[in-house]
Symmetry: D3
Subunit: 135 residues, 6 copies
């Protein structure tokens, strides 16, 4: 269990309930997941994090499914089981198939291998790649 | 500089040259980047890694640009400057704009923040997210 | 369960018991936690690690509670559930409140986000920050 | 250099300038560091990140210096040279001495060692530490 | 449980069964572990990964036991419980004793401590160590 | 440059000089590398870390070269350029050839790939591997 108590809706302040209500409305659910209940110990952190996630994950130059897959990739790289499971579930609701997940993980694995080969051998960056190829 | 010598084309064995030739042909370039030159110290590793990258990054259930962006995300999470720069350059050649890169990084940053919040507070996985929402 | 057997007091050598006795005395407890029982497979590692922890966590330029909170932050960054739980418990006994833990985690999360943004975008260090601002 | 262009004040939009102005005013400086200039490619990310940092690093249950030291600890754990240098510089302006920095790093190092020992040996959490000692 | 279904032998395609058969034959077992059953959702990834593992872990300039211990060290550094347990088991079948495992972990812990001390203090590389001491 | 000043021999206290003398004697060199000069800001940390490294890296159940290679593997996994370069140099003086280094890195890369695949897919540990195969 979490190292801070989970704040349930019934016990929550009006400020916290307002965030919970928005989460449930935006997702079309009648429950709030544990992550937010843990953050609710500090209402300012709860509100700020929710506002940030809403902004970052909204459609923009990248579509929401691509963003979810990037989220999964980062969570796999960092080793966060809660995040991997919850964002895999979210990506599925946005259209990710098993085949897409399998390929996503193949890229994550491949990138991890070459990341460590390059680092372990201290390979120097090629001139052409400097600034990420920005001209 | 790398902790192993970089094997230049002129000094390379036929086995290594065959891989270099394929890399240049597939990319339409007349040069090979340092990563492969470092791996070439062990021709079996060079060939295996190249074959793997070719397979993993090919179009499939995910398109090549999405795969490049996932590669960048993982490389940012792991902190590999060579990989970040080289795959940012590669993603640009496949159509990634500055706006897409900025949003990609916003997702990487956000995921990193929530990854550590969940982990640091040891939040327990909700029943609904178990198995990544797989039914 | 651990990949090495846990060495219980009854089965321990005199050398190991001496460390266990000191741990219990310093902490005012009548038990030793699993970490030390696992290390006890190699008495030299047990003794060295205990002596090191004692020295590092003692009051000095930083007070013990601040040190415990830094320990939690590092354990959250690395993703070590055992360490997060045990040092959160230790920090509580030294006066850490829920409000302090919530703020500590907010900083850990924020730092993680900006760490990855800076790394992912390969931002160059400003002249003024070189050497950590050391003059 | 960064993989996105740095947005200088002269070339910035009114929205970006407003954030830059606030950063300089709050810090009492006449310049803005590169991190913000890179984020400014996406004004929404710039504004959100600045508002978040301001909120998280403000005095609260923890004082600003302790927060800076936690920031350094996380940045050291993740290996972000820009972050380590810039927050070490910031912590110095808030009163961190060389002796405090040396002890901070000793804790970071010690935590890293025990994190990996516990993980590598897969030591099971003691009953007493569950939920971070929360009753 | 895994976020992709585990493909059991009975339900597997001929292509997948061929890999499973080879795994069991090489290891002298009548079962296949979950890792491969998860990868089997993408037969190309299964085959490629198995071929790679076989090549990398074969006797060469390093013996198989040393390779297994390096595998454990990396898995401990990255925090992958499945990998730590499975490769510790594999190393034991190749002759790793408890004393060897205890020393292996002592090195992993020590390296982790000094890695973070060097990084956290941003120590500059000595001239003599450049290129990994390569002349 | 480092965020703490490097303490040169001429400016060092007797306590620090004693450690420096021992480092140079044991290694048969007339210089001390920057890592120790940075730690010397806190003589207790310098002495403790040196004693620990000496103990951990001494011949035991594992030989010194194997230990150096494990050190490199962990440093590559964590991404510490100073550590990678200095321990690669140290391993060379103990007999590591280019072929051994290439294979070591192949294992590090492979382990990194499978670490992330297992984690990203949340594969459950097989019964047979529990406790690292300990009976």
């Amino acid at each position: 269990m979490a190292t801070l108590p989970l704040i349930e809706y019934e016990a929550a302040s009006a400020e916290v309930r307002a965030v919970y209500d928005e989460i449930m409305e935006l997702r079309g659910t009648d429950w709030v997941n544990n992550f937010w209940k843990a953050l609710a110990n500090d209402p300012a952190t709860l509100k700020r994090t929710w506002e940030s996630v809403k902004q970052v994950m909204a459609p923009g130059a990248l579509d929401p499914l691509t963003k979810e897959m990037i989220y999964i990739a980062v969570s796999a790289a960092h080793g966060c089981p809660y995040c991997i499971n919850s964002h895999t579930a979210a990506a599925r609701t946005k259209g990710m198939t098993d085949a897409m997940l399998a390929e996503l993980m193949a890229v994550v694995g491949m990138a991890s291998e070459t990341n460590k080969l390059v680092t372990g051998l201290q390979v120097e960056l090629d001139e052409a790649f400097k600034d990420g190829g920005r001209k």
